[in-house]
Symmetry: C2
Subunit: 223 residues, 2 copies
């Protein structure tokens, strides 16, 4: 099995860095082939611009990124960084997105890599999206505590924050979503607790392939 | 009154470009002073990195963007592009965010400009956030139709998508949020309809200052 880890944290020594390493180790041990896109290290470009289109535009009078990326994808005319990421996505059975507090660089990866033609092409979206045989898992850390992110908590149920990414982007492309893996407020807990977080993640990964995707409908998020 | 328009679209001829110009015109006519941050034209940097911190780090052993930006803000050591945006925010009574399908460059503006110390500083968040005398309005266009973005529609209520931005970011910083202004699927309607969209926006702006902010609680989003 092939796993792509899309990783967005500036600091390898962070808990996110450790969670990424734990995943590489455990999944490799299982015999999976693991690829990491380390977005900050790659200085991945988050801005969706004309530079993503090699050669002439489909409509040079009025630039429409969605249409241009779609046309460029069809003729193999996207910029090299995008073609490489799309190859990794294409080959992956599972994509793990690892980050702290959804940063723009991660959103930029989704905006630029998962373009029309490659990931969706109306009416092929949601259950018939073009990436429909793939799985995704959002693994991340928060600044706020678990209590703040509960229903009725000041920040609201953490699932509310996941809707735009898990449903609006992943499900839109046909990707099935496994339950998120969340480490709350690692900056405010003991070293001991942080170690437990790493162990729990490694533990979960051991039986990951037996998990069923969540039911990615409003009920799961807003019930 | 002072208005800051944070604008993220690559093409001036787009409907988003026109909506931005309509707002500049109408608000200037009212005697407001209007500033535009045209993010793509500025090639605004969406990545939150060590480059945002001028001089030495607070902790050079382990880079924590949130902590470093906070410390740098306090000593006036953020990079110039951020200091300039923060000045614009500081002076504004109202911020209008104009975009198509929330792009990473806009998220990057929020990640990097609205840092701890400037926009929030625990426990000064949500109703006591540091930008509590300001208003924000999200004005944007979608790819999908109104029906797709209704409760029960395939994409779910559009308000679900607004929660992370309006509540998680704006409300978190104390900013009061006016009802969003949404133009659905301008790419699929007639030129006539697009003109009506521009007129409706100009019309709304005429009485904007009399509007009450929404009740930015889960009820507004998920009822």
């Amino acid at each position: 099995r092939k796993v792509l880890i899309v990783y967005a944290h500036q600091e390898p020594k962070s808990l996110n860095g450790s969670l990424k390493r734990v995943a590489v180790e455990e999944l490799s041990k299982q015999g999976c082939s693991v690829t990491v896109s380390d977005l900050y290290a790659m200085q991945f470009e988050p801005r969706a611009t004309r530079n993503d289109i090699v050669g002439c535009l489909h409509n040079s009078e009025e630039f429409n990124y969605g249409v241009e990326a779609w046309e460029a994808y069809k003729r193999g005319g996207l910029s090299n960084d995008l073609i490489e990421e799309q190859k990794k996505v294409q080959e992956a059975d599972l994509m793990i997105f690892q980050w702290f507090s959804m940063p723009a660089i991660m959103k930029g990866w989704m905006d630029r890599v998962l373009v029309q033609g490659f990931a969706h092409e109306f009416p092929n979206c949601y259950d018939s999206g073009l990436l429909k045989n793939k799985l995704a898992l959002f693994s991340f850390t928060t600044g706020g505590s678990k209590e703040m992110y509960e229903k009725g908590g000041i920040s609201g149920d953490i699932r509310y924050l996941l809707w735009p990414m898990q449903h609006g982007i992943m499900h839109f492309c046909g990707v099935k979503v496994l339950a998120p893996h969340i480490c709350f407020a690692p900056e405010y807990v003991s070293e001991e607790k942080r170690k437990e977080m790493l162990i729990a993640w490694a533990q979960r990964l051991k039986t990951l392939w037996k998990e069923e995707p969540i039911n990615c409908s409003p009920e799961w998020y807003f019930k």
